[in-house]
Symmetry: C3
Subunit: 251 residues, 3 copies
Amino acid sequence: MITLSSDFGSPYPAAMKGVVLQATDAQLVDVAHDFPRQDVRAAAFWLREVLPYFPPAVHLVVVDPGVGTDRKAVVVRAGRHAIVAPDNGVAVPAARELGDGVEVFEIQVEDPASSTFHGRDVFAPAAADVHERGVEAFDGYPEYEPFEDFEDLSFPTPDLTGDVLRGEVLVVDGFGNAITNLPGRLVADRMGDSVRVDGDRVPSERTYAAVDPGRRLVTVGSHGNVELAANRGRGDDAFDVEPGSPVELAW
Amino acid sequence: MITLSSDFGSPYPAAMKGVVLQATDAQLVDVAHDFPRQDVRAAAFWLREVLPYFPPAVHLVVVDPGVGTDRKAVVVRAGRHAIVAPDNGVAVPAARELGDGVEVFEIQVEDPASSTFHGRDVFAPAAADVHERGVEAFDGYPEYEPFEDFEDLSFPTPDLTGDVLRGEVLVVDGFGNAITNLPGRLVADRMGDSVRVDGDRVPSERTYAAVDPGRRLVTVGSHGNVELAANRGRGDDAFDVEPGSPVELAW
Amino acid sequence: MITLSSDFGSPYPAAMKGVVLQATDAQLVDVAHDFPRQDVRAAAFWLREVLPYFPPAVHLVVVDPGVGTDRKAVVVRAGRHAIVAPDNGVAVPAARELGDGVEVFEIQVEDPASSTFHGRDVFAPAAADVHERGVEAFDGYPEYEPFEDFEDLSFPTPDLTGDVLRGEVLVVDGFGNAITNLPGRLVADRMGDSVRVDGDRVPSERTYAAVDPGRRLVTVGSHGNVELAANRGRGDDAFDVEPGSPVELAW
């Protein structure tokens, strides 16, 4: 199985699929091709949320603002999964969820056909190759060199030391839910009660439907983080936040 | 075969796919993940139009404004198809098209991992389970209880008794075609002629291209209903209607 | 393998998939369903860019502003590929890339179930049929008649004779890159230098990242054509162009 993720929109992912299918009969599964354009951190967040639900697979991931520069191409192996991606950290948080240890290999790239579409010319052929050789075996071939000096990526850590807890919005999903870096356990025992968000008192509820349509709430999303939401509405608009906005939580 | 439908946008459907693929080798086919957000009636309409074209399959459907409340999770069996969905009526009109009789089973849900993403935590595992046990056999297992008191859903019926026929717009498709609940037979014998829509005389044509680009027409869509359209334009804008708008048809 | 391309958005492509899967176990691969609405030339461009990356396949293509009129339905065979499409030229440029010679067959269409959705009622069944009978063999059946008088489609040719080279924007991709009909070789030996675009001096670079974020550049896209782009921005906005806009290139 090979999953595909990118910020390419359409129809560029189809060229990647064609290249992969030239080399393998693997089942292809689209994860998403509408990640926020060239936003490595947002893609890294979503991949960390989604890839752990898959059975062992090769994951082709291309969010690549540095395409054509000297940034490297890597395979990140974790558990029985391998992520083929640019070396910009996009694969690392997901890999840490997929396995206890993370191994990174640099892909020895021959002169690619284009400078602007390495998804098609570098990463798709590599993903098919890793799949055909096997996640356990591909590193026995000279195209893959162990690589220690890879780009890491971590999400900002919240400040939980004071009376006011300080975090930020990491991403906003398609529903408008603003997902913060504040761990859900902070509000888990206050469900049905209320908390202060940026000074305003807001209900803390297990479900969106616990408040009237259009009303704001704080909940714990499926990712386990505190989420600023609105029942049948957009939390980002209702709280006037966007990715990167600071969020203060108090009681 | 398992089809997937939701209003989740992206990338949440990928988590459902991962969960399903953990449990089955079934072929996955996306129906749509951009149904209007939390609009049960619109999703029910589109599923009724689309699912009958599929061979026997399990259909995973998640449009679920009541997620996390006490609304039940159901399997709706009709013909050789099974629809796994929340008990809000979204599956019922499609099921009535798929088979002569409709059987509904309540899914006995264990404590799910989240309160906000039952697509991943409840419906995806159930769809895989129904697929693996078989559409004819899953109800032999204790996780599925016959359920009579399910939520039904029907579309508003037009008033065809007077000189002026009164219906409404059910949904607007991506082209802007406004699909009404008025049966197509009403205009089928007036093709090439004209009808009155909300008092204005409008050509009634078999094809969009029968009128000049940008001009309005009434036609019979692929769903068999009267449709308000514009050649190479948006019918909803041209007729100033949206879902729920009343439509009066006369001669 | 059957690929699917259309301008249908969602959920209409699912009905095509259902019809295809009634008749074949072929692997289905979506190319794109968000081609610009009823824009035959744009779809023809993208198909020419993408389909050559696929292994031998049947390609179902429906961008069909003339649906329901007397435009014909065709199969275009080239190499070991077959494209099933309306006879409006949409398949021809891709077919010329897929094989040295192009053969066109008219599909003998029985009375279709609708006048507005031949993707479902004509092209999907034909694509499944061509797949099951085989790309080499389908034309032995009476439903397919050799057809010489098909609609051709070619892209406008640039004027490269003077000191100022004159082309136009063919399409704009989802990133906002404006893809012209000017061949990339014109600027290939000026990488790192600059060129004049509509009179303004603009850097010519191999990669987007070679200029500062938001700055304009000229590059050679993955399609081999001159592309007007902006690093981490939209080239169409930065150059104030859209499909059809004239582009003047000078040194």
